[in-house]
Symmetry: D2
Subunit: 339 residues, 4 copies
């Protein structure tokens, strides 16, 4: 049993952490912090989480007393508090972008702010970095698009099969956060499709960092807002290199099955089944499938995740489970909600 | 630990029973039956339920060997198999309309078929019939609209406050089942509202039966299909009788709080909070709120449930928990999924 | 050919006025005014209206030089400029609530602001006030909910058939305007139903005023936000008075057909057809149907309109056509867009 | 004034032809044919098109007496009647795939049926084949995905800028037609994204034929169903060839503006505006924009059309206008419907 605190618990990823952790058998949620909602019961912000007894408090970073602290704070804000939180002796899992980059300059270029913290985090994708996560005190939980994208591409990059990957992602609107803006106004989204930042989304360099670790594959990324609450469907278009031209769909499928063998949250779809958002809605599973190759040598791999679960809070709890030595699926066994 | 079988497991309520029961700590799902899908792994029909090892089988009713059997079969089909299932000694929870009516003639009038079974079920709304459920061998699980409607009206009918209730319900499309029809074709539902059977839906007499047990309140019911996957939002418009004219919103609120005290799945909303579907999505909770009275003496009470959970499979599992002596919330603790 | 100006043209009703008027053969749009967007081409705000050459200008009310001026300004703002606009000699059609009430005190009670203008408008529902509209210089264009509600109830009130009407309305989100708020944030609306102001929406007294002119019917009104861009579906639940108890559905249908005979934008549905939003999407038509009576003497009439067209800008253009002596359907002949 | 008949008028493209043609000032719709609905008034199938007086008739192909005949019939069915229709002397515009291919073998391979007609059609994309359309008696109206895709790619292929184009398309569900299927069942589409035929959709060879006429660009195509009624958003990912590496976004934009100069239905978006479906909803416009180039040399061009208008019936009417010598925009001036 561990004591858990959440900083910045009033947003969607905070709410989702609560939804999961309140039913986690090894966890007691002891503190939920929010400056804005200090003194407010959590159901006023998260209307689905009733009668928990939890009330937002404005807590000084150094005053936390928890075994594990999740920081669901915006980028820039996290790095101002994480060092103090680490000082309390807690394990910290940060859901912002602040600690995801090996190269601070890349962060500063894409986020446009100075990086002022010198602690280092482990990139919290268990399927890539499980061993380091076990020993880490600070986890940089991956971005939502990043999770969907790299899970669809890891086996290809490792095997050096392709030289380019184009990630065309379709995301639910909860990824934009809990604050209303023009681009999340219902009449702009309903019955509509909105591409945005077609070549300049800051999840691109994060994808590049992780996939580029295995080969010199070139990464392109374009996100689209679709009229969906949750979920990211990523269509990974890649091109077999000349030396891999004869590769078959069956061989690619086998490569994925082999690569993800034993992974508790990765499901490889076969027999013509194609991933879709509803199958993973509300769950920590990632579905990966398709593996078709067309006449031009383009290979299509499709992944589906819930952006708030496997793309954020669920993956964060998975990281906690690994760090704390719990069974990895504890508190995360719920299936997707189809329909 | 009980062995559980599901008959007719290939529809939405069957899928939802599986989603819940596969994570229920006191249950082992031993058989999932379907004539149509005999031999098919369940993930081919329920793509979110992967790697369970379960395969649909076509099983003769008298060959079941389970402690509890859920029949997620259509009305008319249930009454043909339930007597045989009861003969096996199992507790049976039927999700069809076949055993819901005290008066067979009402059933035959509204369902248009002859009722040929002489076993009797207990109407499985725990908030009304908990004691009988404990002792029952056969449960008639309530209709989805019915659950939303009567939960919004029980305290009023018991207290004889009103003489009429108009239930104006807005339902998600999963209530129409897994088979495609013109009325569930996406282009007919998306960005649209479709009223249907405005005065002739067969859930009306079921509402009448349960609410009419306490007073001679007259019941009207009109359902609407809205572009939503799951959930029923019921707006209960009722009229204070002359002798109750001075009643205040606060008094009505207190009546509901008193009436539902200790009920694990009923949440009474206060302080101007209004129920909405997202707060109960995927959960077994019913949210009830509003309690406003306008200048004409109309009282508005609003309830929100997930039609597939509290309105069907979750309530069925709740009934099983009561029948088997488990803690009532076992396997049903998940919160709603907002957003 | 008339010169037309639009004040407050940067909102949804302004955009919709432009969409209609730019294809109106008797109109030239000469000025589109907006303080906020002064100098901005209209396609930057209304991305569907491209290459019109129109640019928002900030124009002083007394400087307008147009035959007809539409004021698509918020309530409170309209009454500050309408007197000056009338002074220019123009016909004015105001889309706010400022001039809709016969009794200023009702306005001040429900809108919470002092009414400071002493000019009077004609309530611009052509089906009720056509003759006055012909002679008017100022039109108070009706509210969107109001239009849907009273069209469903006029024949009943005129014939004194019922003593109560409950309007349960389901509205698209564009009715909330172009500015994003928490209640229009996509994740709060998508896959959801949100009732709001269940007994206190300020369109209620407007409905009361118009329907109460014919009988002392009591009016109740509850709106719900549904995941739809445009449209209002109103379910009018009313109760036959004792003296009308034997009334049949067929007789009610005939009453509606008789009442709306010759009305160019009213379509009475027969043969079991039920109105739905898609059939009127983007059009100025109102569909009215159902007319079923249940066993308790409740009568159900259902209307469907597009809130931005028949519920706002289309009706405003209809009023203009009447005022200017054009054929009433000029520029308004487009059918609904189903699907 | 021309007499127009529609064969197969009971589907979505038939309904859309009617919606447009009933307000076309140069057209009288004289016959609407449907075998299935012989004798039925059109509003029973197209509930938005009321009081037109039109009734479906089952008409023998050689009995038509019209100046222009639209065949909104399925592939395979069209080629059985088009020769007879041409014999009547009418101009024929076929909305199926039957006459779109220069090479019959490509048709037979992708459609899996034998091609039995030896008349030839002109590929009816006005932006490419206007001069031939003027003189044609038979038009093969392009596929919906095809229209969105090739409009986004023509200038690139003509200028030989890129060697590959990946079309990642997001389509509304009306493209699947009026008949309900499992894949158009609301609960499978709502709040979901469904890729399908990721490498094997038969619109691919049609795109290849038209774009391949100008260069040897390799074409890949993957469609996705999104929860939208109408519209196709195509994201065209292409790769500058080594000799064009220094090309800038501004130069690409200029290329598009030059290429589509004077085209009445093509709108090139500048200044960072990105196409979205709502801006073209219900209209015959195609919006094309983005033109961004990322660090890997990938160029992104995005197009948005309404699949039922520019992608089908509107383009068919555009072709009719050209064939009949009408102003090209006659009957097609309506703007998109945002929101």
């Amino acid at each position: 049993m561990v004591n858990v605190a959440i900083v910045g618990a009033s947003g969607y990823t905070g709410g989702e952490l609560l939804r999961i952790l309140l039913n986690h058998p090894e966890v007691e949620v002891t503190d939920v912090s929010s400056r804005k909602y200090d003194g407010t019961p959590i159901e006023k912000v998260h209307p689905h989480l009733r009668d928990t007894g939890l009330v937002f408090k404005n807590i000084n970073p150094s005053d936390f007393d928890a075994d594990v602290i999740f920081t669901a704070t915006p980028h820039g804000a996290s790095m101002k508090i994480v060092p103090d939180l680490l000082e309390t002796g807690a394990k910290v899992i940060d859901l912002s972008g602040d600690y995801r980059f090996n190269d601070i300059e890349v962060y500063e270029k894409w986020y446009g702010i100075e990086h002022t913290s010198d602690v280092k985090g482990v990139f919290g994708l268990p399927e890539l970095h499980r061993e380091e996560i076990k020993k880490a005190q600070l986890i940089a939980n991956p971005g939502c698009f990043v999770t969907g994208a790299i899970l669809s591409g890891i086996p290809l990059s490792k095997a050096k099969l392709v030289d380019r990957m184009i990630f065309d992602s379709k995301t639910g609107v909860s990824g934009a956060g809990i604050s209303p803006t023009t681009s999340t106004h219902y009449p702009n989204i309903g019955d509509n499709v909105n591409p945005y930042k077609p070549t300049s989304h800051r999840h691109m360099p994060e994808i590049q960092q992780e996939l580029g670790a295995f080969s010199d594959v070139r990464i392109s990324f374009t996100p689209h807002l679709v009229p969906v609450n949750r979920g990211i469907l990523t269509t990974n278009h890649s091109f077999l290199t000349p030396e891999n031209e004869g590769m078959t769909s069956e061989e690619v499928l086998e490569l994925y099955k082999e690569n993800y063998k034993g992974e508790p949250f990765i499901k490889i779809l076969e027999d013509g089944e194609i991933p879709r958002l509803s199958s993973v809605r509300g769950s920590n599973f990632a579905h990966i499938g398709c593996f078709e190759i067309d006449e031009t040598g383009r290979l299509v791999v499709i992944s589906a995740i819930d952006n708030l679960v496997k793309g954020a809070s669920g993956q964060a709890v998975h990281n906690m489970n690994i760090m704390c030595g719990f069974d990895e699926t504890t508190g995360l066994k719920m299936y997707g909600m189809h329909p």
